[in-house]
Amino acid sequence: MLNRSKAALAAAVLALTLSNSAAALQAQESPWIHVEVIDSGDKAEKVNVNVPLALAQVALDALPEDITGKITSKFQEKGIKLADLRKLWAELKNSGDAEFVKVESEEETVRVSRAGQLIQVRVEDRKGDAPEQVRVDIPVDVVDALLSGEGEELNLRAAIQQLSGRRGDIVNVTDAKSKVASGSTLAARTRGPIPCSSVSCLASASSARRACSPRSR
């Protein structure tokens, strides 16, 4: 009888431990969006923003007109109709790996291509003394979801949903004022949360950065 009670207790403890571990694992694996801006110019500033992707979904649910309206108006300003974009995408997405666009001039190179499941946009701007590089990697599924709306509206909600399954860089912008190491970098990527134990984060800024961001390096 006693053994049976012990076994039941052990099973209950095991079940509780497993359920807690599963919850912890889920919290660890839930996607976050990380934005990192490094400006090594005169300001020498570093900015890191890390927020759960669910927060972006909440913002979209709460403020849909504000966000989608601004994006749509940007397209309209440039004379781009989403209906045309959808037709173009329907043709392109089944084409396999290919370079869709390449524009080369003395000052700028722009390339849009597909590599596997990614649409890659590469811009190299050599104008003036502050060359700029832009790298955008968008999964095909995300573009699909983004253009799955109707009329002149992008389906941001569906795109974010798709983004939640991705881990890695989305946007990377490098802007160097000279060939030396000074310049600014902006990167946005999805990944898990940056865990932060209260003890390690009370350490000095630089050591806390390392301690709190084991997965972001």
Binding site: Q28, S30, A54, L55, V58, A62, P193, A205, C212
Partner: protein, 167 residues
């Protein structure tokens, strides 16, 4: 005599069960040390009697933005502890992190050290419970009364220290 004792004990019990805000100001240059404990309810009553127009000035937040803020706070409550924002420059470091049930804001520069400890649940519940009312300074008393014990704000400058704590 017994009745007076009971009234005093009841009064003490009532005072202890209230939410108090404690303001602590230390100014070494002026050799000043102020320690002001006050029940939030008392401050609310005094403000209600004096009723200055300033406490009814509408704060510039639309209800839909407050609802979005409440939803965002709920997501943060569900998220694990994490560093949300870090801004490092030559002169200043600003860190915002989620730590347990609070958002901690730290600002450190050469002359100033600021710490803000904002409880998530109480702020979220306050926003959720008054979704369509215009927000005004007077309504913040309600929020203050619901806050848990602990430090809210600490500002340290050379020779000066100011803290606001809920008890």
């Amino acid at each position: 005599m017994l009745g007076f004792g009971i009234v005093c004990a009841a009064g003490l019990l009532a005072a202890l069960s209230m939410t108090w805000v404690i303001v602590n100001v230390v100014d070494e240059d002026e050799d000043l040390h102020l320690w002001i404990p006050a029940p939030v309810l008392l401050a609310q009553v005094v403000a209600g009697i004096a009723d200055p127009p300033e406490i009814h000035e509408k704060l510039p937040f639309e209800p839909k933005h407050l609802r979005a803020a409440a939803a965002a706070i709920r997501e943060l409550e569900n998220a694990g502890d994490s560093e949300l924002v870090r801004v490092e420059s030559k002169d200043e470091t600003v860190v915002i992190r989620k730590s347990g049930a609070r958002i901690e804001v730290e600002v450190d520069n050469r002359n100033e050290r600021v710490r803000v400890h904002a409880p998530l649940r109480q702020v979220r519940e306050f926003l959720e419970n008054h979704p369509d009312e215009p927000l005004e300074p007077a309504s913040l008393f309600r929020l203050a009364r619901s806050l848990p014990s602990g430090p809210l704000v600490e500002v340290t400058e050379p020779g000066q220290y100011v803290s606001i704590r809920i008890w």
